[in-house]
Subunit: 168 residues, 2 copies
């Protein structure tokens, strides 16, 4: 069992400040570090298609709900600000991947849907992306992956309850 960066950081803290309860770092530090490493590399298949992770998330949200979404819904779905969604929509629209359509009843709201190219792009990219992710996770055996997924789900439920409630 070799140790990771977080383990050595924790060891440094213990040396310098022996009383410290560094327990939380072992989880939160690792989650942050994993997320950082993943985001740096994970997007390789996306980048080759000229897409940001955030843009892909947006396209994916429209694709998987299989209906038109409003910018507001997209903002909630992708956990980003309305302004960010607006900008991404403009960029994606300029590339003819999404279309805007004004609501007939309420002219404040817009409806966003994928163009055929947008849909085709997502359907081509997502399997590539998942295959890449699968290769990244290949170092863990199946029981380990299940265990990890289930623990993360537990944690995520906690976080959503505690923090997601305070959101918005």
């Amino acid at each position: 069992m070799t140790d990771d960066i977080v383990a050595s950081v924790v060891r440094q803290w213990q040396t310098v400040n022996p009383g410290l309860d560094t327990g939380p770092m072992e989880i939160i530090g690792r989650i942050n570090r994993c997320a950082a490493l993943l985001q740096q590399a994970e997007d390789a298949p996306l980048r080759s298609a000229g897409l940001t992770r955030a843009e892909f998330d947006l396209l994916g949200a429209v694709r998987r709900t299989d209906r038109e979404l409003t910018p507001g819904e997209l903002a909630r779905e992708t956990f980003s600000s309305g302004a960010a969604v607006t900008k991404r929509l403009r960029a994606l629209q300029d590339r003819a991947l999404v279309e805007r359509r004004g609501d007939d009843r309420d002219r404040r709201v817009a409806h966003v849907r994928l163009t055929d190219e947008g849909r085709a792009l997502v359907d081509r990219l997502l399997p590539e992306q998942l295959a890449y992710e699968r290769s990244v996770l290949a170092g863990l055996d199946q029981p380990g992956r299940d265990e990890l997924a289930s623990r993360l789900s537990e944690l995520l439920v906690q976080l959503e309850g505690r923090l997601g409630g305070a959101r918005r």
Copy 2:
């Protein structure tokens, strides 16, 4: 067992595209989501001290290594670009939390150390931060936390080997 956001996203994908192997999402999606939620809220104690997470990481790196570090070392230690470190150092120096000292031998390199206030600030903030993080993790029992930490460590080792090697 209630399910989290990732579970419902996976379900949506399965509805729309039944053949898809969504396994990787169960881990990577959750890690990203946890990291996002944590970073939004986790920094509460820091923000009250007027510090960014990145700035705190930088101060922490100097504190825990217990010696002067060069900007380059700090960039590697905090996994950010040299330019970002330069700017953060300027900001922290303006607030008298760190000091720069030029090397006598090699006048390219600088050495960064904490001022007394900087050191005091870290030593005051870190326990607060850890206490806050502990409260966030309180929903998991101790065996669950250990299990999670250990699985994350496994994954992190894999990622560092696979991706960290490609870094620089």
